[in-house]
Subunit: 397 residues, 2 copies
């Protein structure tokens, strides 16, 4: 009796839940410390102490009618100014409150901007491998998501295919930088090429194509690599951000959209996004948390911890003979499956109590995703299992 | 360049904003204390002190990885149990965590359950006058909202019309009790009649018709009137609740759905709603606030304050000759316009610095809504303006 669309989604979701339940089952049999669950993208570094201080500050000192009250659907103006200032300081941009809409995480922000832009029948492109929820978010706006395949050597977008896939109905392109699940950071020259192609196609079709940059992993970049700020490369860019990873606040659902003044039809897009925040039922980003992140927006999580996990795993996997593009961002490794059907490899890994996610869940068969936002013990203790897997598949040289 | 649907919504929203801006303009000219703004439904009683204590408690004592982390899309199990227990204590029901889904306010909850149930082309009914956002929420799920007209003497649903309007495509009926904007409370005998009609129609069509009870005003009931708990009257009831009014936390976006075990296809509906929470981009209700409301779910706001405003305004309006159904819930009065076109009356009121909302915004022409969630001074000082309006229209006997 539920809707047909939801019925399909529930079936899918049951498959994922089944995997988690198997993991829980393994933990029961072998003990949690002997199960290496690399399946979830849930930060395991605690929120910085400054979050606690900010919460106590606002609950003690702010007027409760303001702190817990409705504000403009775009969010508190002073909060939006504080966040704009922080972006300006860090990325040499020139935003103010009129460019920021506070959202219920990045997921809320993406739904808001897609609802604002997409007409039924429009297409939205993204670059594979990609976060599978994009399919649902685009469907919510009655559009269709299409994925541009990657160049498998480096997991950068296949630019020829990208150019061919842009149609007059292409309303937006979603890019996720650093990328979940590949862990790669798209460098300036890749962004420049994307911008060049989009500019050309906009001119050719006489349309506006918005580049939506989904950036929950922006602060998780290693080896000193620069994550380009996309509004500086392409005029019609909208940035979606979340404090889920940078401040370890995924459950609190707090993020924002940046809508630069120079995007086509800026006033309509900004006002549309404010209205979308309301009509989609978000109404506004959680008020108390808006005031908290405004006080902590220059803070960072403990990146060194994730970097340590990354190095141990990447080096070990290389040593054992696995193929894996070097990840410079987020907290994921995207490993080539030693057999064509990566579901077979996931099943083999499970026999060693190692839980990985199949690449087809990210639009990329033949690969598996490993999330290294886990304890150091899990990382270190899992290595013999990976070595055994490498031996099983004859990878060790 | 924004979507056609959003373009219409933005135009609408600009009209409402224009009204607010006019109000701000009036405040500038005459002083805020001389403008009687009855247009907004924003609680003006501060959150109880126990909210502050609960926030400090959880931020001080809870593990930050748990407090700010992801949990099941349905919400923390212990929070859902605490809320189920509170409902059971107060309404003699028998729920547990498996019947509760924590949501981003009632607006989030309504979108979640509509996305779960509604297929494109389905219709959803509601009872006029009604909260206009229902139109958008049903549209988000690609359904169509139709409003059952009221009996104007008492603003109860016209039961004959209701029965006639139910079709095989009717997937759900939204009821808002106490009602915004009329302020009436639908009593047990009205609910029984609704249930009887729905049962009959379900049998006739062989369908399931879900009754969605939107209850943000449940605790705001006066004169000792009982607000029936609808799951006890009709099997296929889903309740949507928000702490916006009862704990004055509208900005924090925290509420829940109750999905009783006895609804048709309970497991699919519950699992569908959890998945809808995720795919719509809510993901989960704000985590810290989930833990806070679990500690305060038996608290109430200062109802006596609203009741005081209600009595002063209702009695004065009666005395001046206005027609208005006696409001026993929420914080609204729905006044009959002394002229057929209530927009004319709104304009006349504005000349006395009184801001009211036109009834057609709630699907009911010829009436205006007055929100009395304002300071006592605003209420008392506005009375001469209402008296002058009554004299202008020859209402004073």
């Amino acid at each position: 009796m539920i809707s047909k669309n939801m019925k399909k989604l529930v079936e899918n979701s049951s498959a994922i839940r089944a995997m988690f339940e198997e993991g829980a089952q393994l933990a029961k049999i072998y003990g949690a410390e002997n199960v290496y669950d690399f399946s979830l993208g849930n930060p395991n570094v605690a929120a910085p102490e400054s979050i606690k201080e900010a919460v106590i500050d606002v609950i003690t000192n702010d007027d409760p009618l303001m702190l817990h009250g409705y504000m403009s659907n775009a969010g508190y103006e002073d909060v939006r100014n504080a966040i704009a200032d922080s972006i300006n300081r860090r990325f040499d941009t020139n935003f103010d409150a009129s460019n920021i809409i506070m959202t219920v995480g990045a997921a809320g922000g993406l739904n808001v901007i897609l609802k604002t832009l997409v007409d039924p029948g429009d297409t939205v492109l993204t670059f594979a491998p990609f976060f599978a929820e994009y399919i649902n978010y685009v469907n919510n706006a009655n559009g269709t998501l299409e994925a541009v395949p990657p160049v498998l050597e480096n997991f950068m977008p296949d630019m020829d295919k990208f150019e061919q896939m842009i149609k007059p109905s292409t309303k937006a392109v979603i890019i996720n930088n650093p990328n979940n699940p590949s862990g790669v950071v798209y460098p300036a020259e890749v962004i420049e090429k994307i911008a060049e192609i989009l500019d050309k196609k906009q001119k050719e079709y006489g349309t506006s194509i918005y580049l939506i940059s989904d950036e929950p992993y922006r602060e998780l970049a290693y080896d000193g690599v620069e994550v380009p700020y996309l509004t500086k490369y392409y005029k019609n860019t909208v940035v979606g951000y979340s404090y889920s990873k940078s401040l370890s606040l995924p459950g609190d659902r707090i993020g924002y959209l940046v809508i630069p003044s120079e995007v086509d039809d800026y006033e309509e897009v900004f006002e549309g996004a404010s209205v979308a925040n309301r009509v989609l039922g978000f109404v506004n980003a959680p008020s108390l948390m808006q005031r908290v992140v405004a006080k902590c927006c220059d803070e960072k999580t403990d990146i060194d911890f994730y970097d340590g996990n990354r190095k141990i795993l990447y080096n070990a996997l290389q040593e054992y003979g696995f193929t894996c593009v070097k990840p410079q961002g987020a907290f994921y490794l995207f490993i080539k499956s030693p057999v064509a059907d990566e579901r077979e490899f996931c099943a083999a890994a499970k026999k060693h109590n190692v839980l990985l996610v199949q690449g087809r869940s990210f639009g990329c068969e033949g690969y598996v995703r490993l999330s290294y936002c886990v304890s150091r013990d899990t990382v270190v203790n899992s290595l013999p299992a990976f070595k055994a897997l490498a031996e099983e598949y004859g990878l060790i040289k």
